[in-house]
């Protein structure tokens, strides 16, 4: 028996996107089989491909399953974060911290993005950010040196050579006497 695919009305997936079109419960089952859960170990790509073909009559391949694994993992994370943000918004509204719809939208958006970032590996992210900061700093330093070089070149071009003041014969004699100490 061929499985009937329930289409989500909110989106228009291509007919080839078989796994993305599966019912939510089945998607969760596939993900659990593939990536594992508290109850069971992940079975891997090939095993899941075979399992889908044998038990669910769904033809797919390892590449599609790999794409699905990343997509579904991210989707679950976004959904959880979204729900958490909604709860936080309710609390904020009850406490009177948020008064307008605009404020709510803005704060929710900020919370959502903040939580999305915080759910990732914070140490690795901090490391990447530090590296990026160092790169930016180094770029700025290089830019400063370049600008200083250009400025120096410009100064050399525009600067007129200072001629030494010629001294008169009297002044020369006076200077010699000063040096010899005869004055």
């Amino acid at each position: 028996m061929k499985l009937k695919i329930d289409k989500d009305p909110n989106r228009k997936p291509h007919a080839r996107a078989v796994l993305k079109n599966l019912p939510k419960t089945l998607q969760a089952e596939v993900y659990e089989h593939l990536a594992g859960s508290e109850k069971m170990m992940g079975q891997g790509l090939q095993s899941t491909t075979n399992w889908l073909k044998d038990t669910k009559n769904i033809n797919t391949n390892n590449t599609s399953l790999s794409t699905f694994r990343k997509w579904y993992g991210l989707r679950v994370r976004f959904n959880d974060t979204g729900e958490l943000v909604k709860e936080m918004m309710e609390k904020c509204k009850k406490q009177g911290l948020i008064k307008t719809v605009e404020q709510e939208r803005r704060v929710a958006q900020i919370f959502f993005n903040r939580l999305t970032i915080d759910k990732q590996d914070p140490e690795l992210w901090a490391l990447v950010e530090n590296v990026n900061l160092d790169i930016d700093k180094s770029d700025r330093e290089n830019q400063r040196v370049k600008m200083e070089k250009e400025e120096h070149k410009l100064t050399l071009k525009t600067k007129k050579p200072v001629k030494k003041k010629e001294i008169t014969a009297d002044e020369r004699q006076l200077r010699i006497r000063q040096i010899l100490g005869t004055e």
């Binding site: 989106r11 228009k12 080839r16 990343k70 991210l74 989707r75 943000v85 803005r106 993005n113 970032i117």
Partner: protein
């Protein structure tokens, strides 16, 4: 120098991240930048903005919550973006 093929892969990774987000909220630059790393890309802020603006121009991505400050831009995938991913088996 990034090749055309790498750029296409990067576009695909960006779309995949946005596609996974089916909440009402848009994704901001830092979150997108961090999540594309899962696909093997460590993009700079400028590269990320350029890609998002390019994809917006193509109609595959849209900027949401434009009333918010310019510094806090958020993006979501469009139906055309989802279709692009599905058609290209991404």
């Amino acid at each position: 120098m990034i090749s055309t093929q790498q750029l296409e892969l990067f576009d695909g990774a960006t779309l995949k991240v946005l596609d996974a987000n089916n909440t009402q909220f848009g994704l901001a630059l830092p979150a997108i930048r961090m999540l594309v790393r899962q696909f093997g890309f460590n993009a700079s802020e400028t590269e990320m903005v350029d890609t998002l603006e390019y994809l917006t121009g193509k109609g595959l991505v849209k900027e949401v919550s434009k009333t918010l400050a310019k510094a806090f831009r958020n993006w979501k995938i469009t139906d055309a973006g989802r279709q692009y991913l599905d058609e290209n088996n991404l």
